[in-house]
Symmetry: D3
Subunit: 134 residues, 6 copies
């Protein structure tokens, strides 16, 4: 909690298409944390109703991960960012693929969900570097 006090809440910035200027990779990360938690709960519960519900919800949460990442890629990042970080396009393409059939949606393996979280962490690092530089 102490860390939160030092990191003022105003560091967030553009995520709608006005644009309002508030973006934060935390939106994608929170949904991906949910995907991973659902995978873990799926593995430890064999009740068929629970498992079907887990798949229904994981499908929705994975779609939200993809959406939040797409918004960052199209709306927040600008040509100078892509020049400075030449692998950024590929990074987003891999991250969104990992949230889809090849990962978040298609598997129930927490390790696959962790790979998605790792990709989002890479994006998060670049995001905050560009915010500091702005």
């Amino acid at each position: 909690m102490f860390a939160r006090l030092l990191a003022p809440r105003t560091t967030v910035s553009a995520h709608c298409d006005l644009p309002c200027g508030v973006y934060d990779p935390a939106q994608a990360r929170i949904e991906a944390e949910s995907v991973k938690a659902i995978c873990e709960k799926y593995q430890s519960n064999e009740d068929p109703v629970f498992r079907t519900r887990a798949l229904i919800i994981k499908e929705q949460r994975s779609e939200l991960v993809k959406h939040h990442l797409w918004v960052l890629w199209t709306d927040y990042f600008k040509p100078p960012h892509f020049e400075k970080y030449p692998h950024l396009h590929q990074l987003f393409n891999e991250a969104t693929k990992l949230a889809g059939a090849a990962g978040g949606k298609g598997t129930v393996d927490p390790a696959e969900a962790q790979k998605l979280l790792d990709k989002i962490a890479e994006i998060d690092t670049i995001f905050w570097e560009t915010k500091k530089a702005a």
Copy 2:
């Protein structure tokens, strides 16, 4: 950024209805920051197309604020929390009202949007107290 390194990303916890156990008031706060930023941009731009778009998007963002708050109120908080924090029901009721016609949706005044952010900050404080106590 240093603070973020110290604040491990696993502090998040339940926001879908499995439940996955990942909740974070940051979801409501980010949307409310957007509402406030839209109000500010609305005030400083008289182009009618821009202003109409601002109202369209603010309506959506305010609805998301309400939704994220409702989820916390119904899904995260349990009877013992409401016993310990007797004003918690009213706090959520006021916060969601402030995100609707009486505030986030109905006005274009940044000061009203700030009141909404302040209410969310109150909820955030209680949320993290209950997480620490868990």
Copy 3:
């Protein structure tokens, strides 16, 4: 309930956030009737395709129940109502919990769905009392 007979179907009033002034607990009740009917059909049909579809649809209908109840709680009911009915906050909190993982979404037991309908009936009674008093 007697009031309903005298006050024909046109007495409805506010459910969007303009606000338009048209509210009616029937919206939540109809979706909850659907949840109960789905539970009953689930119990009497062992076809796996049917059962998975039942869970998909029940998840959506339960979410609609929660949404319609949240709208009543935040948008229709005002401070004087909460003063007059001190248990109203708790009633809504319990009803929306019953529509989620703890009931409508999480179970396939018609008896649980009936409990949700009973809670909505309690809310409905209070709603129409406040309409008469207005």
Copy 4:
């Protein structure tokens, strides 16, 4: 609850695609009441923010009217109904057109919204006749 037995119109019955068997024209009617109320409020309030919000919300509510009517037409009514009521197809087509650009969405005239309500009332009458006959 006794009153409910006397008020047969509240006997809900199929509106999802399981199908659960709960249908009720009240869903379309409540949204159409909202459309009409929004038109009235629009006429009596010249504030540009309010008026834009009214149009945003009326667009959504009109879409819901169309959706609820389409569901009744496709999912509830069966070939024998269309034989017995040969104008039923046209009635639904006219009602959904009245909820769109030609009426609910395209105008801010309460009289147009009333025409939509009248069409829904015609559908409602036929609906309950078929329920009684079932």
Copy 5:
């Protein structure tokens, strides 16, 4: 179908409710192709996670088929069309039923999905005839 070769892809015209004047039965057809492909994949893959995901997605795609067809029926086709093609109402009613519980949603049989595609092809033929005549 010959008309389509002569009428290149830019002949599209009205599918929103402004109306913008861009309509194209291809929207319904693409979703129905997806429904059929999902049925085929379901039949050839017994993995329970895959099968549940197939049912979740097929439910969504079938709903989109219904929606796109309803829009054509209510928004594109006008009274003179219904006079010229007296079975058009029934054709749309059957097609949307085939996309619901009685077909696209309720079965996993590619042959049922093909029946839906055939109905859409009938609608497509009439649609392009009316476009040529306009």
Copy 6:
């Protein structure tokens, strides 16, 4: 149906995340045609209700353009495609930006909407080249 064999662009194929294997850039194009038509109608109609409705609907249609393009970029195109077409990432990034605040959403200029259609046409050409090569 013979005509369909001759008209290769109608051979639809993967657009959901099962994946079903049905993709078609026509989905993005149809929505973008709508965006352009709305801009044209906006320019030639000064009624304030009509203009506000045009902006509301254009915002939705532009969002659909972005969504359909993102799905192609993440789900259809694979690493070998990005190797063969090195500018493909940038092309999609520019196209989705043109559908957002910088174009489809932010302007009411048909010429801007035409630029979006041109970008989609470039993507369409590459898409069908890769389909032929598959």
